[in-house]
């Protein structure tokens, strides 16, 4: 069974440009999460989808970030326009819905560098 897949693994963009990150969760996992780690700091929650609906987006930094999950399968996280402070590693995770006693499975992350 394939794990959580994230694309691209690395992205270097200039300030002001747009970048779109993609996450393919484990098949059948209705919960999908985005997290971010800014260098040297903790991994912070960004938002949570249940299928295609945003359950919790309290961690989204500002309106330059837009997350979508059309059809309840893969998800995209778009940053437009990117700023220097957006640099970091963006993790996606998924888990089955309705099973609170299970862990979230993480992807390898996308390392975003804004220059």
């Amino acid at each position: 069974e394939a794990g959580v897949t994230q694309f691209p693994s690395h992205s270097v963009i200039e300030k002001g440009q747009t970048v779109t990150l993609r996450c393919d969760p484990i098949s059948g996992h209705d919960n999908l999460y985005w997290y971010r780690r800014v260098m040297g700091k903790e991994i912070k929650f960004l938002l949570h989808f249940v299928k295609e609906s945003k359950q919790d987006e309290s961690g989204m930094p500002n309106n330059r970030f837009l997350a979508e999950r059309t059809g309840g399968t893969y998800s995209t996280l778009k940053v437009q326009p990117a700023e220097l402070e957006d640099s970091g590693v963006y993790f996606c995770a998924s888990s089955p819905y309705g099973r609170t006693n299970t862990e979230a499975f993480f992807g390898q992350g996308t390392r975003l560098t804004v220059v």
Binding site: Y33, E42, I43, H48, F91, T100, N101, E103
Partner: protein, 115 residues
């Protein structure tokens, strides 16, 4: 709301020596506790978890952690480390009620095993 404190950002240790990585948490509700590990150039992997029952939990590669409710701690230990244990270790909590399924992470501890 929850918070997690990992006081040690880096822990150097010689191979075959014991190690303890400290984790303390704060929460107004009961929590599930997790340790995730990130090996070089890889994604986050679950190392072990405490959900309920025995307060001592073990991983398949010799790590163990003990949930101490009175001290609000979940320290990670291994009696004899191997060079392959070099990685970054993250402690995380998730509230049993409220807050959805999102994880709150500590800042991570870099374990460096030396020969």
């Amino acid at each position: 709301a929850q918070s997690v404190t990992q006081l040690d950002s880096q822990v150097p240790v010689f191979e075959e020596a014991p190690v303890e990585l400290r984790c303390n948490y704060s929460s107004s509700v009961s929590v599930y506790l997790f340790w995730y590990v990130q090996y070089p150039n890889q994604g986050l992997q679950l190392l072990l978890k405490y959900l309920s029952g025995s307060t001592l939990v073990e991983s398949i590669n010799g790590f163990e952690a003990e949930f101490n409710k009175s001290q609000t701690s979940f320290h990670l230990r291994k009696p004899s480390v191997h060079i392959s244990d070099t990685a970054e270790y993250f402690c995380a909590v998730r509230g049993l009620t409220g807050g959805g399924n999102k994880l709150t992470f500590g800042t991570g501890t870099q374990l460096k095993v030396e020969l």
